[in-house]
């Protein structure tokens, strides 16, 4: 089986923790079915600067899971989606909310320039609103389940 690196990126707290939630769920599934999902190397990370490039360069296939901010005023359940994000879509501008201005986008662009990215890289964006409202937590469970299914399906298809 191909070793697949799965990175859940974000904070362990707040709504940015969806990447960690997905990894937690995948850990349980992997432990329950090691014969099927033992090839998944699961990591939760709260920093996405150049420190992840060494890790990425060790794998041929990587799936990154991160929260993506939805812009807008109001949201309903169907707005909370999981979507595949292209490398070119990620904002590579220096990000004042990330370590030293190094966000995931800048890190991946540097990795691409340095030939340190896996041959196959998928970025799953879990869309959540920038402003969180009471009751929205209910959407996180189904949202993260969709991402878990997507990871399992993609990894199975790669066998």
């Amino acid at each position: 089986m191909t070793e697949i690196l799965v990175l859940g990126i974000g904070s362990p707290f707040g709504t940015d923790n969806v990447g960690w939630m997905v990894i937690d769920k995948l850990e349980k599934i992997k432990n329950a079915h090691p014969e099927r999902y033992g090839n998944l190397s699961l990591h939760s990370l709260s920093r996405s600067d150049t420190g992840i490039l060494e890790l990425l360069s060790d794998y041929q296939y990587c799936i990154i899971i991160d929260a993506v901010i939805l812009n807008g005023d109001s949201f309903s359940a169907q707005d909370f989606r999981v979507r595949e994000v292209g490398l070119e879509e990620i904002d590579t501008c220096p990000d004042k909310f990330s370590s030293h201005g190094f966000g995931l986008g800048a890190t991946l662009q540097l990795g691409k320039a340095m030939n340190m990215l896996p041959g196959k890289l998928e970025i799953l964006g879990l869309e959540i609103p920038a402003i969180w409202e009471n009751g929205m937590d209910l959407y996180l469970e189904p949202l993260t389940n969709i991402a878990v299914d997507a990871v399992l399906e993609n990894s199975t298809n790669d066998q």
């Binding site: 420190g51 890790l55 901010i69 990620i90 909310f97 030293h100 201005g101």
Partner: protein, 431 residues
């Protein structure tokens, strides 16, 4: 899949403690009238968050103050807690705390040298641009950063906001296989670090000698990291418990960060201050490599900070390897915490400089009050002083863009956290 909605990757707000900077510069008749570095730095709230917390919660909470130097915060806090509760570390725990700290120096300095500072000196706006011409240099930075992260993970379970420290030592002793693998990585990294020292000194660094006071921890028999007295280049030497007799913090209207002064004067903390004060405490091999650069320490040129960082990477790899191969028995104690109302202090050398903690504990053994003085606030006055000198030296009649670029280079030269802020430096010039 496609979408017309604007997207960006969300990252933890916690890292915002690294701050945001702006520079306000007023030039009148060829002279600087106003020069104000503005930093928005919210970690002060942590001191309040810590009130009422028991020791272990303090150690875990302070790790969250900074995503780059969580080990420094944890070790300074643990040191104070161990003093307060009269806990003695075993020789192994003491040595491995030092190894843990070396990991933080390596990862933080490698990131700063290669990804943040080097593009300034080589004429690039970003490391992405630099990587086209210097891919091997960037790759070396990534490799060294990885070594530092691996060391932190070895003891802290993860490299960011590690969770391995407890009063008296660590929660877990690393497996022998993991230690052996780490030793191999350090051996591989040592020649890279040696080459880095030479390379950093070969960069076209501006020649800008200035007068400043250096301050750092000092131990007579080894290069100080997490123990020692505070030493200054002005001739002071005192216990960390006397810190407040010499250093004072105050607010300036233009900055949310506190300013710290040494007897009412700016001073420098960080790698250059440490090398300036403690060069003789470095091992002979490290001193020898440093001397081959031709730079004399103590140095008055702030731009030699990048060389000082490289020397500290070389030292940290050497030191971590020495300690991990010393054949020590991995003994740890599991002390009971006996509550007592007391005041205790912790101090260590974070990558960016001296980090001082003071805690008052209640008779129940929880925090009554906490005071944390990070390197950022200590260097702030020195940065403004440096900017004043450096901009005057290059000529105030330079274009706004030249002044902005030079200001950014001066500020970034100090500290990765401020480097973060100054990626967005907004320079407002009034002539």
């Amino acid at each position: 899949m496609s979408s017309t909605k604007k997207i960006r990757i969300d990252v933890p707000a916690l890292t915002r403690v690294e701050g945001e900077g702006a520079l306000h510069l007023s030039i009148d008749n060829g002279k600087i009238e106003t020069l104000q570095l503005e930093i928005f730095e919210p970690p002060r709230y942590f001191e309040k968050f810590l009130e009422g917390r028991p020791p272990q919660e303090v150690i875990d909470a302070v790790a969250r103050i900074c995503g780059i130097c969580p080990v420094a915060y944890q070790i300074s806090a643990a040191q104070a807690i161990e003093q307060a509760f009269d806990i003695k570390l075993t020789p192994w725990s003491e040595a491995m705390r030092r190894v843990f700290y070396c990991g933080e120096w390596i990862q933080s300095h490698a990131l700063h040298i290669h990804m943040l500072a080097a593009p300034d000196f080589l004429g690039f706006d970003t490391v992405l641009q630099m990587s086209e011409k210097y891919p091997d240099i960037v790759r070396r930075g990534i490799q060294l950063q990885g070594v530092g992260n691996a060391l932190i993970s070895l003891f802290g379970a993860r490299s960011v906001h590690p969770v391995g420290i407890r009063p008296g030592g660590f929660f877990k002793t690393p497996e022998n296989d993991a230690v052996e693998a780490m030793i191999a990585r350090l051996e591989e990294a040592l020649p890279l670090a040696k080459a880095l020292v030479q390379w950093s000194a070969s960069l076209p660094l501006p020649d800008d000698a200035q007068d400043f006071t250096s301050a750092a921890l000092h131990e007579p028999d080894r290069y100080a990291i997490n123990h020692g007295k505070i030493l200054t280049s002005s001739g002071l030497s005192f216990e960390i418990s006397d810190y407040e007799q010499h250093f004072s913090e105050h607010h300036e209207p233009h900055s949310t960060a506190l300013y710290s002064l040494l007897h009412n004067e700016p001073y420098l903390v960080g790698p250059l201050a440490r090398i300036n004060l403690n060069f003789e405490q470095l091992p002979a091999d490290i001193q020898e490599t440093a001397r081959t650069t031709g730079i004399q320490f103590p140095s008055r040129n702030m731009f030699h900070s990048i060389v000082a960082r490289a020397i500290e990477i070389h030292y940290a790899i050497f030191e971590a390897h020495q300690l991990l191969t010393a054949g020590m028995d991995a003994e740890q104690t599991d002390p009971k915490l006996e509550p007592d109302a007391t005041t205790a202090f912790g101090c260590s050398e974070a990558p960016r400089g001296t980090l001082w903690h003071k805690y008052e504990f209640t008779a129940e053994g929880v925090v009554r009050s906490a005071k944390i003085v990070p390197p950022t606030s200590q260097n702030q006055s020195r940065i403004e002083e440096d900017l004043h000198n450096a901009l005057t030296a290059i000529g105030l009649d330079q274009s706004a863009d030249t002044l902005r670029r030079h200001s950014e280079m001066v500020i970034r030269n100090y500290d990765p956290c401020i480097s973060c802020a100054t990626h967005f430096l907004k320079l407002k010039i009034k002539r």
